[in-house]
Subunit: 281 residues, 2 copies
């Protein structure tokens, strides 16, 4: 048996309570419930603006465990790809203002009408390459988040940890800084090479750890994630692999759940997160 | 541009028209529409019985490109695992009666209540090992079908071609006969190592090729597959990889589509299959 995790490592990804709370309420809610980390999505950040959000988060003693999200690099034409680059540069600046531990990259899928998966993957690699220097200068590590293969077409064509690490090696160099990965159990729990990928990444490239659970059955491809303990993911086992290579960062809870958790009182959701973090991860 | 495929290689997986036709109608429909292959699911086979189905399929000049399905090896206890073995032995006998090109194995997911994915995968390996001799004796190759990772929990914990080939190597030996893989584009199209996996398999282990398409958006995890050409899979590219290593077998159309194709007149579905096979694969 793994001992329970340090409760101070719990972090709230704002997607978990996005339907009922604005960012101000989330910051206050985390502070009230003793949750020390927060990871805002940019739609919520826009409500306050990065500077005001940064001030408020700091005043409440919270750590920004990541900003969600940059990425979405593939586009049908040069103009679209350029717009994506600009958007990522802006996201990097916001992440710097927030002193975020990383900017999470959901890299994007196939451009509309395209079936060229190798081409989309090349656009991702090139896009990351174009923004990496700016990210390094701003002190914001970029975290490639491999997404579950069911999102390959429309959200992210990087779908395994090995593939994300190959991009890291290619774009940043094998020992290059400023580029790593976000491990979200929902996306990678099934991967027979997950342990090997975590070991290959090592603690320097493990920039974020996201937790939730995979429900059986899963009713919706996007919005039916489970609370830790309600599904089939062996969360203590995956945490043991992360810790074995030296990961000491936060455990960020990201649950998109249209018919369950999003409907509940967010204070109840945060309380349940705390309990389950201790009991089931 | 790839030249269009040989129309004589088209095969109907009975799942594609299962809602409106029984097996007798499917056999007659294939013969009427000039489709030369058929791959029955066992629920449909049970309607006629294997012997009568074999006779009728032979009389109509069709090839049985596979029997769907064996597998489902993991179970919570020894009794359940034994029952799975017995069921697979029976399926092998039916496949032999049908002179099927292979028995497709959907290997099974986690036993109820279990989070032990390595354990489930070991049960799969052991289960295949227990039935392989019987399959060899019956002249029925076993085709491990890696299923999309979104089915890892409840349908198949073998989720990539590489992983399926590892099981082949381990159970049958690197050059061992009687065990190979079924490549279904729906399950593997996203895999950055797909081409390498097809090359590693080689034509001796490529026992079946299943086609359909991945729709964007996909509305349901199980029953929203698309007709070839309606989605984002680069079907000619994947076929080119199959042919490059010497695959000359059938192209089996398996479309589970609750809200579209299952509602249509099956004769229309078969006609559309023929058109799209030529135009889009």
């Amino acid at each position: 048996m793994m001992p329970p995790p340090d409760p101070n490592l719990l972090s709230l990804n704002t997607a978990t309570v996005r339907e009922k709370w604005n960012l101000r309420q989330m910051i206050e809610g985390c502070a009230r419930q003793g949750i020390r980390g927060i990871s805002p999505w940019r739609d919520k950040l826009a409500e306050l603006g990065a500077k005001e959000a940064a001030r408020m988060i700091r005043d409440h003693g919270l750590t920004v465990t990541g900003l969600c999200r940059g990425g979405m690099f593939p586009a049908a034409d040069r103009k679209g790809r350029r717009a994506a680059i600009e958007d990522n540069l802006h996201a990097i600046d916001d992440a710097a203002t927030l002193e975020a531990k990383c900017l999470v990259l959901v890299v994007g899928g196939l451009p509309p009408g395209s079936k060229d998966l190798p081409g989309a993957r090349a656009m991702v690699r090139d896009g990351i390459g174009e923004v990496l220097d700016h990210a390094r200068g701003a002190g914001v590590p970029l975290a490639i988040e491999p997404l579950h293969p069911m999102y390959c077409a429309d959200r992210a064509c990087i779908n395994t940890l090995a593939q994300a690490l190959d991009v890291c090696d290619e774009v940043a160099g094998r020992d290059g800084g400023g580029l790593g990965v976000a491990v979200d159990v929902y996306h990678v729990w099934w991967d027979p090479d997950l342990k090997a990928g975590i070991e290959r990444a090592g603690h320097k490239r493990l920039l974020a750890y996201h937790i939730c659970d995979w429900l059986v059955p899963t009713a919706d491809l996007l919005l039916d994630r489970g609370m830790m303990g309600d599904g089939v993911i062996d969360l203590p086992l995956i945490r043991s692999w992360m810790e074995a290579v030296g990961y000491r960062g936060f455990h960020e809870v990201e649950i998109m759940s249209a018919t369950n958790w999003w409907r509940r009182d967010p204070d109840e959701v945060l309380a349940r997160m705390r309990e389950r973090h201790q009991a089931c991860t």
